[in-house]
């Protein structure tokens, strides 16, 4: 009962809406194969931003002082990540059916890493605000776009498995994000919200 109530209060419109925008852009990349390597990273960035809205809690002033702990609340809200994961998986499936020649295991890892990054940033920000979605999503977009937009960074770090080169591989980047992110979520859910007076 409580699980359903918590899920109902989630920012589903934001999560599903941004995932839909990602599916739209990624779908164009799959439909026009020559644009796939440009549009799929943008779609994955949007999926990361969608994941950042998973922990938004408009009624946090009330919810955060209930006996339900942050671990359980975060776990329930993590179910919202299914939306960006499903959108990304459908894009990959469509890409494979269209004959895109991408390294699929590395692409799947990039999808998991992107979504996880959005959730991690939101989880850390959730200790300071009840609705971390907006600032966390902007932060995630800025972080993920930097290697795409700045040639000096792109030559050193790769966030999407599109090619070789001497840059740090996307697998290394995303495994690191998953490991560090798991620790960051663990630390953030073990803390009480700092922004409610009297709970420090």
């Amino acid at each position: 009962m409580m699980v359903l109530a918590m899920l109902r209060a989630g920012a589903w419109r934001a999560v599903i809406g941004v995932s839909g925008a990602a599916a739209l852009i990624g779908g164009c990349g799959v439909a026009f194969r020559s644009t796939a390597t440009a549009l799929l990273p943008i779609a994955f960035t949007l999926l990361a931003a969608a994941a950042a809205f998973a922990l938004d809690e408009p009624a946090s002033l009330v919810v955060d002082v209930t006996p339900t702990g942050p671990v359980r609340r975060t776990g329930i809200r993590a179910l919202a990540l299914l939306a960006p994961f499903v959108a990304g998986a459908l894009l990959m499936l469509a890409g494979a059916l269209r004959g895109l020649t991408l390294p699929w295991p590395a692409t799947a890892l990039a999808l998991a890493g992107n979504v996880a990054l959005g959730f991690v940033v939101a989880s850390v920000a959730r200790t300071r605000t009840g609705e971390p979605g907006a600032p966390a999503s902007v932060a995630v977009v800025l972080i993920l776009l930097t290697p795409t937009l700045l040639p000096a960074v792109a030559s050193r770090v790769s966030t999407f498995p599109t090619g070789g080169g001497d840059a740090l591989s996307s697998n290394t980047v995303w495994w690191s994000v998953l490991v560090v992110g798991t620790a960051a979520v663990g630390v953030s859910v073990s803390r009480r919200p700092r922004w409610i007076p009297g709970l420090r």
């Binding site: 941004v18 852009i25 960035t45 931003a49 999503s137 700045l150």
Partner: protein, 288 residues
């Protein structure tokens, strides 16, 4: 005996003073916005690290539009929405929403001026007439530079204000930015394989930013179809549409009908300029 003094129309003067004060305040807020500061730093870094020896300008100019147009759009969206929660208080002040929106629009001057500085720096290494601009005439080369450096830096922040006035979703700015960025990539690709196609040219021009040449990995620069001058007109029409859309929110009575009429005229003008941009320029792609 008393002397009656004629009033010296104090209202417009007071209104102008209020607008200037508000605009100065919004400028100060914009200048310390972290997203805008990040954009300024990224542009400076990209300008400093871009190799001086380039084959054509596309590899060195897009980041100005992305950062000063796109990131500044997110900053002005943030700025516009920041007063949303204080609207019950602000709404009863003598300053109308229209004046506050107009004051917000003035901040777009800042990224535009910064882009002019970057453009002047760029011209030091690649002056007009340089082979990197392709087969365009000197005035057309100047138009390409203005359309790729300056106008997107003006239009992005204006779009941010319009989005901030109309969109309720707090992530609307980055979604719009990524959709426009993706659209820019998508509509450029057909011109790579079909440089002479009118449809491909129309698709490429139907965006707030457009490339006008391509080199790939070879030494030759292919100059695409399309008129840079009319494209600037199309971009400026888009800027005007953004401003009018922003002003429409909260406009009432006669002002509202005027804004709607101006919006309709600007939309027609935008379509005409887009058609001229597509049909102007070279009749087919030119390799040089």
């Amino acid at each position: 005996m008393t002397a009656a003094l004629a009033p010296t129309r104090p209202e417009p003067v007071a209104g102008r003073a209020t607008f200037v004060t508000l605009a100065a305040r919004e400028l100060r807020r914009f200048l310390v916005n972290p997203v805008f500061l990040l954009a300024v730093a990224f542009v400076a870094w990209a300008t400093a690290t871009t190799p001086r020896s380039i084959i054509e300008i596309d590899s060195a100019d897009f980041y100005v539009a992305v950062f000063l147009g796109g990131f500044a759009m997110m900053a002005t969206f943030w700025l516009t929405r920041s007063t949303r929660y204080s609207e019950p208080v602000l709404g009863v002040t003598p300053t109308t929403l229209l004046v506050r929106t107009a004051a917000l629009c003035t901040v777009a001057v800042v990224p535009m001026l910064y882009s002019v500085l970057i453009l002047l720096w760029f011209l030091r290494f690649h002056p007009i007439g340089d082979p990197v601009y392709g087969a365009f005439s000197s005035p057309a080369q100047a138009a390409v530079l203005v359309s790729q450096f300056v106008v997107p830096s003006l239009g992005g922040p204006l779009l941010g204000v319009a989005l901030g006035r109309w969109a309720r979703f707090p992530g609307a700015a980055f979604v719009a930015f990524l959709l426009l960025f993706g659209w820019g990539n998508l509509v450029t690709v057909p011109s790579l394989s079909h440089p002479d196609s009118t449809a491909a040219t129309a698709a490429r021009m139907f965006a707030p930013f457009s490339f006008f040449s391509f080199a790939g990995n070879g030494p030759d620069v292919t100059t695409w179809r399309g008129s840079p001058w009319f494209f600037i007109g199309w971009q400026l029409a888009l800027c005007a549409i953004a401003v009018l859309m922003a002003l429409l929110r909260g406009a009432e009575g006669r002002v509202r009908s005027r804004v709607i009429r101006a919006l309709a005229i600007t939309l027609v003008l935008a379509v005409v300029l887009l058609v001229l941009a597509v049909s102007g320029g070279f009749a087919h792609a030119v390799r040089s």
